[in-house]
Symmetry: C2
């Protein structure tokens, strides 16, 4: 078992946003026990005032978040807002070092603070076809390390374990917030998918609705009359042709109907609804399995001759907070938009407009190459 | 009414693929009446052998088309396969000029010719969770002009009218093919969305299944107990706040819950299932409205300071050939992945993994700017 001592310290930024340190290194000090960590900036409060609207053609909520167009875009390293605060350079993290830290996004798509903004009409243009609501909820940023130039795979299992603790903590906390229907922990990596900050970090969204992908999964699970994800996991382990790793508590496989050239699902053997429900042994193994998977994807492309950082999306699919919670379970969906060295998988007419995915890669062959990737 | 005389000539390429000329210019000759147009190449037949697999988590078919990795990628203009054949340079079109031409894609994702390939098992790994079938159907390419450097907006209404005839002809023809469930005419434009050939062209897919977007729309329409698309059209015309143009037979608007920064739907007033069902007056007006919309999108970005060719997807959503045909109707979904000058709308974790779209643009403001775009 990974030795794991953690100091959790909550504080508040100058504009009222919450920030939580997760320290795993003695003397567990970023929280202010031994260091100065007061946010000395005088930040104006951002009142997003976004709305969500129901698309009558799909039945899905679309969020309109116009204020986000002004957000920070690829700052030079010396002005990275996710680095620790140093003399003369104040950042989002008012401490001169930290291990892992989570805080409310300054430019959130969803927020609990709608302030004094005008009430949002319950329909667009007074038409029942277009239900509308404020974009309430929560958006947080999680910094995985204070080292600007690191990557997730370089963290080591003890630090990854701390990230898992932070994800679990935030999942539990956001699930308790009024109006949050589902919590989504994810990492976007790479300029190819529009990442605006290079500092190693992920995000956590507390959506005010069940996401379209999960809503679809809940319909499928209800029609299946059984544990759909458990049955898929069992079938993948039985077939074995798409397995990447088969561990004590976790199994990773390329799904039979993979959409992306490189797509892997990492599924716990025990049917748990979310990261907060994982027990210690599952978290310990995950702290090894998760970076191992990321490394395999890096090696996959490096062996094909492309050693640049791999763009990927790592998405933790969790059960909704309320209705439908018993119908699904936690799993990780990891995929890359890179198709081959130097080329990306683009979503053009068939995917973007018709929803009909065409994958150039054979899942069994991708799984074989990921299995063979020496780590 | 646009003067419209058309000569339609069908021929066969050297590997057996069908090619159809749509000539609107006297002496309507590309079809071989006055010119040599025999395909003198000795092309090997491509036998794709792709499969489609049902994703148990979403209920959607995903097509696995590994052979397409070798397809032609951004050839230099002098070797463009969509230009007319010239002495010493044979292309896909065995005529020294043409107006509009449609032909079967040499590297199709779906094809009627599965040749002598081995039978595809009806499930993956013998597991009922993963139904599987050959990727039958049809993929065609439509060249809008023989001028390699033109764009759709430069064609002029008479030529656009011919393109509409070609779309309508191919929609009717593909709808008659065994196993085709839905016909999809679309244009992908711009390297930003992975377009591999710059010659002005679109594509037509005859899918062996109803596409996921349409399947979703059919479910919504059935639950609506009425003409869902007609009611949306009427509500948009009544509200007027998102209208772009309101014509005699067609209306264009930014949808209330637009997903893309620039997204416009162009809807015929008469509920027709597909392009083939449009009458002459509707086709005539469309030949003006459609390029006008494209120009407005170009002006939209040009006024913001970005005059490079606009990347866009223009997708004709048509009713399925069989079941559900009466539940939906024809409309054009036009959108750009460009968000602002020099920046793209990326689909990251929230969109790609959770299906939860966040749009930085306010539909009413986009509509206002598109209305104001002088054409």
């Amino acid at each position: 078992m990974i030795r794991h001592l953690l100091c959790r310290t909550s504080t508040t930024l100058s504009d009222g946003r919450e920030l939580i340190y997760f320290d795993d290194t003695e003397p567990y000090s970023s929280g202010g026990v031994t260091r100065e960590c007061h946010d000395a900036r005088d930040l104006a409060t951002v009142r997003p005032g976004g709305v969500r609207r129901l698309d009558p053609l799909t039945g899905e909520w679309v969020t309109i978040a116009a204020h986000r167009m002004d957000r920070t875009h690829l700052p030079a390293a010396e002005s990275c807002p996710l680095c620790p605060t140093r003399p003369g350079r104040r950042t989002e993290i008012p401490a001169d070092d930290y291990d892992v830290v989570a805080f409310e996004n300054r430019f959130p798509s969803f927020t609990g603070d709608t302030g004094d903004t005008e009430p949002v009409p319950t329909t667009v243009d007074g038409t029942d076809l277009w239900p509308q609501a404020p974009a309430t909820g929560r958006c947080e940023v999680v910094c995985f390390t204070s080292d600007h130039d690191a990557s997730f795979t370089a963290l080591g299992p003890a630090r990854v374990r701390t990230v898992i603790e932070a994800w679990a903590d935030r999942t539990a906390a956001l699930s308790q917030l009024d109006g949050v229907a589902q919590v989504f922990c994810f990492e976007n990596r790479g300029e190819e998918i529009g990442v605006t900050l290079h500092h190693p970090h992920g995000q956590i969204y507390g959506y005010p609705f069940v996401t379209p992908r999960t809503a679809q999964l809940l319909r499928r699970a209800a029609a299946h009359h059984g544990d759909l994800l458990g049955d898929v996991l069992a079938a993948e382990r039985r077939a074995a042709s798409r397995l990447v790793v088969d561990g004590e508590h976790w199994t990773a496989f390329v799904p039979a109907a993979a959409r992306w050239p490189v797509e892997v699902h990492l599924v716990p053997h025990r049917p748990v609804p979310d990261l907060a429900a994982l027990h210690d042994a599952e978290r310990d193994e995950l702290a090894v399995r998760y970076p191992d998977l990321l490394r395999r994807v890096e090696i996959f492309f490096a062996e094909a001759g492309d050693t640049r950082p791999v763009p990927y999306i790592a998405a933790w699919q969790q059960a909704p907070v309320g209705t439908g919670r018993e119908l699904t379970r936690l799993y990780l969906q990891l995929f890359s938009v890179r198709r081959a060295p130097g080329t990306l998988k683009y979503l053009a007419g068939s995917e973007s407009a018709a929803g009909a995915w065409i994958n150039d890669a054979v899942p069994e062959q991708i799984a074989q190459r990921l299995r063979d990737a020496a780590t």
